[in-house]
């Protein structure tokens, strides 16, 4: 880290002390032109990724999947099966890599932990009263500590969108800082719920707020509101982590979540990562897909590339 970024970093760490300073900083970030951002994202989506590049992208995407189930109906049996699939996504092909993580509610963490132990697959848990976060802070923190204690090494928290939209940035910031402390050594992913933030300017501001508060990852969505991850939202977030690293020297990961269902979608995201932030982020440590059905499509496409014939859903597990 250079001297400039060290001093920039300490200056930025001061911002959280005052509502005015935070507001001045966040509203001083360059604006985002909606049409321009969406066009750039669409252009990147026209890249043609074929043959060897596609094979490489599919394996990378599998390694980046946070295989997720976040249902009221989740049971120990259901999440154990999911964890098993995370370790060996394609039982017929041992060369198929394992996914990045399994992501479940805190109550399901102990069952998943048993299965994943020693596999190299991370265990993520949503916390902080996911998905709305509309409970007192103490309860959010207790939720977080419980998930970590049960074996989660990654915590996906939600920001307080109500406070954000009301302009109470310091409240949002303080909650992130408090959650950061509560997760201890685990990784903290901060869910912005971009579908509720309404503008790309807000997405950029919330991204910076999350990074300033100490998030290791910024994540688009809970998957529980109508608009989840989109390419342009992810583009704005990637630009934010790029600029944050340039300013502070600290690298932050990005996780689009919700609505990414096909290999084609996943590859568009990888192209965007490649051409926006570069190879440093093309790694499961720095980029993840929050998804469930995506994995099977990746597996089918992977089979197509190795065998030359199109596969069908009957040949992949439904877990």
């Amino acid at each position: 880290m250079t001297a400039t970024t060290t001093s920039a970093r300490s200056e930025l760490s001061e911002l959280g002390r005052s509502e005015t300073a935070l507001r001045t900083f966040l509203h001083g970030l360059p604006g985002v032109d909606q049409v321009g951002a969406e066009q750039r994202a669409a252009q990147l989506g026209t890249r043609s990724i074929k043959t060897t590049a596609k094979a490489q992208a599919i394996d990378l995407a599998i390694r980046m999947v946070d295989l997720t189930t976040l249902e009221g109906a989740d049971t120990p049996g259901k999440v154990r099966a999911l964890a098993a699939k995370a370790i060996r996504p394609d039982p017929a092909d041992p060369s198929c890599p394992h996914v990045g993580a399994v992501c479940v509610y805190p109550a399901m963490v102990p069952y998943v932990a048993e299965v994943l132990r020693g596999s190299g697959v991370h265990l993520a848990s949503v916390a902080t009263a996911f998905p709305s976060g509309q409970v007192p802070l103490e309860i959010k923190l207790a939720d977080t500590r419980a998930a970590v204690a049960a074996g989660a090494d990654e915590i996906d928290m939600v920001i307080n969108r109500g406070a954000f939209l009301a302009g109470r940035y310091k409240e949002v910031y303080d909650e992130i800082v408090a959650t950061r402390e509560a997760v201890g050594d685990a990784h903290l992913k901060v869910i912005l719920e971009t579908g509720e933030l309404a503008t790309y300017d807000n997405v950029r501001r919330a991204s910076w707020l999350a990074m300033l508060g100490g998030g290791d990852f910024i994540k688009t969505s809970t998957g529980k509101v109508p608009v989840a991850a989109t390419l342009p939202v992810s583009l704005v977030m990637l630009e934010a982590v790029r600029d944050f690293r340039a300013a502070t020297g600290r690298q932050v990961g990005v996780k689009p979540a919700g609505g990414i269902k096909t290999t084609k979608d996943a590859i568009k995201y990888l192209v965007m990562v490649n051409e926006t932030v570069g190879a440093d982020w093309l790694d499961p440590d720095w980029f993840r897909f929050g998804a469930s059905s995506l994995l099977n499509d990746l597996l089918m496409q992977r089979t197509k590339l190795t065998t030359g014939t199109y596969s069908g859903p009957d040949y992949f597990t439904l877990d």
Binding site: D33, Q34, V35, G36, A198, T199
Partner: protein, 274 residues
């Protein structure tokens, strides 16, 4: 009882809102008066004055330009007898007044009729607006000296252009008198500049001048000269209004082409987003 000795008028040029003599010190006898014989340098000075006036005049509100043109019609009406005394038929003066009024009203309408929103296939606000081209050099029709002159000046300036006019060489008195009308109409100095003298002397200088944006050759009757002026105008791609046909009826409805030829269309795009 002896008759009062009249005070005669000196007919001079009209440049930058002032009435200078030709810098050459020359004049020529026409319509029983000594009229300034403008030189190439006078033409150059007139272009400088016209250019200096562009910013304020083009930047004035359309409403303001319309008001000033209407004021010119009022002044013209008030000097009706003066033009008649110069030999301009009364109905020509009337027609000239009416033409000023007609053009005055165009000031704040042309943008709506000749510009507007374009429905592009994308999330953009897109609008086209006509703007003045800048400095226009005009060779006024030789006759009718007043109506012809008004018919070439008004359409050029109503949209925000400024003009340097080579007046009718054979009937220049109406032009100089019109300059007096304009000088008392709140028209900013330099918006209209009038040169009297030989077309062959002033027009080539104006057509070749690189700080002139357009030429109106309406009054050029010699085809060879017209072609030569157009060739000169090509050097910086001036907009060109070609000579009017010999039988052109200046009293007829002029249409809008005189205005639109001296306009640029500017189209501005902006994305629509949140």
């Amino acid at each position: 009882m002896s008759e009062r000795v009249a005070v005669r008028k000196t007919y001079k040029l009209f440049i930058g809102g002032k009435f200078p003599r030709s810098e050459s010190g020359r004049s020529y006898l026409v319509q029983s008066s000594n009229v300034s014989l403008a030189s190439r340098k006078d033409a150059r000075d007139a272009v400088v004055a016209a250019r200096a006036a562009v910013k304020g005049w083009a930047g004035a509100t359309a409403y303001n330009r319309g008001q000033i043109l209407y004021r010119a019609a009022e002044m013209l009406e008030g000097r009706r007898e003066q033009f008649v005394a110069l030999g301009v038929p009364g109905d020509e003066v009337d027609a000239a007044v009416d033409r000023w009024v007609w053009y005055a009203g165009w000031a704040d309408k042309l943008s709506q009729v000749y510009g507007g929103a374009n429905p592009v296939a994308g999330p953009y606000f897109n609008i086209s607006t006509p703007e003045p081209t800048g400095v226009v050099a005009v060779v006024a029709p030789e006759r009718p000296a007043l109506l012809g002159l008004v018919s070439v000046i008004a359409p050029a300036i109503v949209t925000g252009n400024t003009v340097v006019v080579a007046a009718s060489p054979t009937e220049p008195l109406a032009a100089v008198t019109l300059a007096e009308v304009l000088a008392t109409s709140d028209l900013p100095g330099g918006v209209v500049n009038i040169l009297t003298g030989r077309i062959t002397e002033t027009a080539p200088t104006l057509a070749a001048h690189m700080d002139v944006n357009a030429v109106d050759l309406s009054g050029v009757t010699d085809a060879e000269l017209a072609a030569d002026l157009e060739v000169k105008a090509a050097e910086n791609l001036k907009r060109v209004l070609r000579p009017a046909p010999a039988d052109h009826d200046w009293s007829a409805d002029p249409g809008v082409a005189r205005m639109t030829t001296l306009l640029e269309t500017k189209t501005v795009w902006h994305p629509k987003g949140v």
